[in-house]
C-alpha cells in the first residue's frame, strides 16, 4: 500500500485483491482522499473505455433507423431525425436477405449438432478407451489444430470440387462438422471427471456406447456448452469457407451476402442504413447466445468474487 498514485491505480488493480487479507484497521486507513481520487479516476477511465466499446454498436442500431440523408448529415447522433424502418423493409421484403438468414441458420444448427456429437465421441475415446494408435490419433488432432484456416482456402475448394460437393449444402456443412480444438477440449474434460461411475455401469453390463451416451455425456454438460458456443459462433460467423465452397445465389449465407452488400453495391450510393441494419440483424443470434451463456463465457468472474 506504499504509494498508490492515482495514475497508477489501474496497474495496481491486480494486487487490489489483497485488502481482504488485511485487518479492518488497515483497510479503513485506505479510504483516504488520495484513494478516493484514485477510485474516481478508475471508474472514469472504465466508463470512457466502456463507451468506446459500446458506442459503435449503439450508433449502428440508430443509423439503421435513419434515412440516408440523416445518416450522412449527422452520423454521431443516437436519435434518428426521422425514424424509419425503410432499411429493414427493403432487407426483408425486397432482397435475398431472408434466404441468406435461412441458409446460415440451417448450416449453423446442423454443424453445431454434428460437432457436439462427433467431437465428444472422439474426445471420450481419446480420454478413456484404450486402443492401439490412440496416441497417434491424438497427436494428429493436435497437429491439425496448427494448420491455419486461411491456408486451406484453395485446398478445400480443390477437394470439394473433386468430390463433386462444390456448391452444395453437403460441401458447406461437412468440412465444418468436426473441429480439432473441440476434440481437444472434450478430451481434457473427460480426463478431469472421475472414472468410477462409468466403471460401475460397465460392471453392470452396459456397452461402451451406452456408457458414453447415458452416463458420461450428461455429466459433460459444461464442456458441451463450450462446444455449442464455439461451434455456433464459429459457423454463424464463418465466411471464407462459404466463399470457396459455393457460388450459386441460392446457397449464399448471411456472411457472404452481407459482404457482397458491403462491397458490391458501393456504387449505388452509400446505403449505410441498409448495410448497418443487415449487419445488426446478423449479430443478433450470436448476441443472444452470448447473453444466454454469459455466465459460462465469463465464468472467470464467479471465482473472483468468492476467492
Amino acid at each position: 500500500m506504499s504509494s498508490p498514485l492515482t495514475a497508477v491505480t489501474a496497474v495496481e488493480a491486480q494486487t487490489g485483491a489483497e485488502p481482504s487479507a488485511f485487518t479492518p484497521l488497515r483497510r479503513r486507513h485506505r479510504f483516504t482522499t488520495r484513494s478516493l481520487v484514485g477510485q474516481i479516476a478508475l471508474y472514469a477511465m472504465l466508463v470512457v473505455l466502456a463507451l468506446i466499446y459500446i458506442y459503435p454498436f449503439l450508433v449502428q442500431v440508430a443509423t439503421s433507423f435513419k434515412t440516408e440523408q440523416d445518416a450522412a448529415s449527422d452520423p454521431i447522433s443516437l436519435l434518428p431525425q426521422t425514424f424509419t424502418v425503410a432499411a429493414y423493409e427493403r432487407l426483408f421484403l425486397h432482397s435475398d436477405f431472408p434466404l441468406w438468414f435461412a441458409n446460415s441458420a440451417v448450416v449453423t444448427v446442423v454443424v453445431t449438432l454434428g460437432r457436439v456429437f462427433f467431437v465428444s465421441l472422439a474426445g471420450y475415446a481419446l480420454a478413456r478407451l484404450r486402443f492401439r494408435g490412440r496416441g497417434i490419433v491424438f497427436a494428429a488432432v493436435v497437429g491439425v489444430m496448427a494448420v491455419p484456416a486461411v491456408v486451406l482456402l484453395i485446398p478445400k475448394f480443390l477437394v470439394l470440387n473433386q468430390l463433386g460437393l462444390y456448391d452444395s449444402y453437403a460441401g458447406m456443412i461437412l468440412p465444418l462438422l468436426v473441429d480439432a480444438a473441440g476434440v481437444f477440449i472434450m478430451k481434457n474434460f473427460f480426463e478431469s471427471i472421475p472414472e468410477s461411475v462409468e466403471e460401475q455401469a460397465r460392471i453392470d453390463g452396459a456397452g461402451t456406447f451406452r456408457v458414453f451416451w447415458s452416463i458420461v455425456l450428461p455429466m459433460a454438460r459444461p464442456a458441451l456448452v463450450t462446444i455449442v458456443i464455439l461451434s455456433f459462433q464459429g459457423s454463424w460467423n464463418e465466411l471464407s469457407h462459404f466463399i470457396v465452397s459455393t457460388q450459386s445465389p441460392g446457397l449464399t449465407t448471411l456472411t457472404k451476402g452481407v459482404a457482397s452488400l458491403a462491397s458490391g453495391q458501393l456504387s449505388q450510393g452509400t446505403q449505410y442504413p441498409l448495410k448497418l441494419a443487415a449487419a445488426a440483424i446478423m449479430t443478433i443470434p450470436v448476441a443472444v447466445l452470448f447473453f444466454i451463456f454469459q455466465r459460462r463465457i465469463m465464468n472467470t468472474s464467479e471465482g473472483a468474487v468468492k476467492g
Partner: protein
C-alpha cells in the same frame, strides 16, 4: 437421463441425411455394444476406433488430403480447368514459387506489397491488442469493483460479432463523413478519407517533417520488387483503420484469458512484495507479469497466427484497395487463384504463408520458453500448498 434424449432424436437423422462417411459411426457402436457387454473391457479397441472414425474421416478428407492436393497444385501448371490430377497437368517444379519471390515482375511486386502490408499489421496489432487486453483484464480484476460484470461484457461484446458485421460497421464509422471524422472535426481537426487513403502513416509523419522522398540508399534497393523506402512506409491510412478494428475486436477475447490467469495467480507473492515495500508498479512488473508468462505466450502466439491470416476484413471491406495497400498474402492467394486463375501461384502463396506462421510460432515459443523453474508448475502447486499450510500457521500462532 432426460437431458440427452432431445439431442439424440435430432442428431440421428441429421447424421444420416448429410453424410455418407460418418453415418456408420453412431450406429455401429450400438452393435459392438452387444459383443463387448460380456467382458468389461472387451471390444474397447473397436469402440475406440469407431468413436474417432468420424473425426479422422472428416479431418483427413477436408484437411490432410486438401493440403497435399494444394501442395501438388503449387508445383503444377493447373489452370483451373478439369481435375488437377488429370494427365494434362504438368509439373513445373518451383516455377510458381520463383514467380512470386524473384524477378521483380508483377507477381513478385504484389507478393512483396502484401507481405509489407501484413507485416505492419502484425507489428502494430499484436503488441497493441496484448497490452490493451492485459490492461483491461487488470482493470476489471479488481476485487472491489462495482459493475464488474457490465464492464467485462462491454469489453467482450465486440469479440462475438462476425468479422463481416464488424467490417460493415467499421466502413461506416471510418467513412469520410462518418462518426469518427465527425468527432475529429468536433475536436478541431480534419480526419483523413480513411478507406481511400493509400499513404503510409510513417511516410505521412515524415512528410509532416518535410521529408517527402527517401534517400537514394533506400529508394534504389528493393526486396521482392518493393523498394526499401516503401517497405518502411508504415501501414496505409486505410490499413490503420483495419488495425484499430482488429485491436477493438480481439482485445475482449484475450482479456478473458488474462482475467483467468490473474485469478490463478496467488495473492501471496504480491503481498510479500508489499511487505518488502514494493509499490504497485513494481509489484505488477516484477511479481505479477512474470507469473503471466504462459498466458502471455498464448496471447501473443494466437495474435501472431491470427494476424497473418487477415482475409475476411479485406474481402468484405477494401478488396485490397486503395492502391493495393490492404492486400494481404491470404487475400492475394485467394484472388490469384479464384479471380485470376493462377492456381499454382495462389497455392504457392498459401504455403509460404503457412511457413511464415509456423516460423513465427516456433520463434515465439523459443523466445518465451519457460526457464528451468516452470512457472506453471509453481502455479499448479500454489493453491494446494496454501490451503494446507495456512491453517497450520494460524493454529500455531
Amino acid at each position: 437421463m432426460s437431458r440427452p434424449s432431445p439431442s439424440s432424436r435430432s442428431s440421428a437423422p441429421i447424421a444420416t441425411s448429410t453424410t455418407v462417411a460418418p453415418t456408420g459411426a453412431p450406429t455401429r457402436p450400438a452393435s459392438s455394444r452387444r459383443s463387448c457387454s460380456g467382458g468389461t473391457r472387451r471390444g474397447e479397441a473397436t469402440a475406440g476406433w469407431l468413436f474417432v472414425l468420424p473425426v479422422i474421416l472428416i479431418l483427413g478428407t477436408f484437411l490432410l488430403v486438401p493440403v497435399l492436393m494444394a501442395l501438388w497444385v503449387s508445383f503444377s501448371d493447373w489452370s483451373g480447368r478439369g481435375s488437377p490430377l488429370s494427365p494434362t497437368v504438368h509439373v513445373v517444379g518451383l516455377d510458381n514459387y520463383a514467380a512470386i519471390t524473384t524477378g521483380g515482375g508483377l507477381q513478385t511486386r504484389d507478393f512483396g506489397t502484401a507481405l509489407r502490408n501484413n507485416a505492419w499489421y502484425v507489428v502494430l496489432v499484436v503488441p497493441l491488442q496484448t497490452a490493451l487486453s492485459l490492461f483491461l483484464a487488470v482493470l476489471v480484476s479488481r476485487r472491489i469493483l462495482r459493475g464488474r460484470g457490465f464492464f467485462r461484457t462491454a469489453f467482450y461484446f465486440p469479440s462475438v460479432t462476425s468479422s463481416v458485421a464488424i467490417t460493415v460497421l467499421w466502413l461506416f464509422l471510418f467513412s469520410f463523413a462518418g462518426p469518427v471524422n465527425a468527432i475529429i472535426a468536433k475536436l478541431g481537426a480534419e480526419g483523413p478519407n480513411w478507406f481511400s487513403d493509400p499513404r503510409g502513416i510513417v511516410h505521412v509523419a515524415l512528410g509532416g517533417l518535410g521529408i517527402s522522398s527517401g534517400p537514394t540508399a533506400l529508394t534504389d534497393g528493393d526486396f521482392l520488387g518493393v523498394t526499401w523506402w516503401d517497405w518502411l512506409s508504415g501501414p496505409s491510412v486505410a490499413m490503420s483503420a483495419l488495425i484499430l478494428m482488429a485491436v477493438f475486436t480481439t482485445s475482449g477475447t484475450f482479456m478473458l484469458l488474462f482475467i483467468a490467469a490473474l485469478q490463478n495467480i496467488g495473492v501471496e507473492l504480491a503481498e510479500a512484495g508489499t511487505m518488502d515495500g514494493a509499490n504497485a508498479w513494481q509489484r505488477f512488473w516484477h511479481i505479477t507479469l512474470p507469473q503471466l508468462r504462459p498466458t502471455l505466450f498464448t496471447v501473443i502466439t494466437l495474435g501472431l497466427i491470427g494476424c497473418w491470416q487477415v482475409f475476411d476484413q479485406i474481402y468484405t471491406g477494401t478488396q485490397g484497395g486503395p492502391a493495393k495497400t490492404t492486400v494481404t498474402p491470404a487475400y492475394l492467394s485467394y484472388t490469384a487463384a479464384f479471380q485470376n486463375q493462377n492456381w499454382g501461384i495462389g497455392a504457392a502463396i498459401a504455403f509460404i504463408l503457412f511457413l511464415i506462421i509456423i516460423v513465427f510460432t516456433l520463434f515465439q515459443r523459443w523466445a518465451l520458453r519457460e526457464r528451468p523453474v516452470s512457472r506453471r508448475r509453481i502455479r499448479a502447486y500454489q493453491p494446494r500448498r496454501t490451503e494446507g499450510a495456512t491453517p497450520v500457521k494460524e493454529s500455531a500462532s
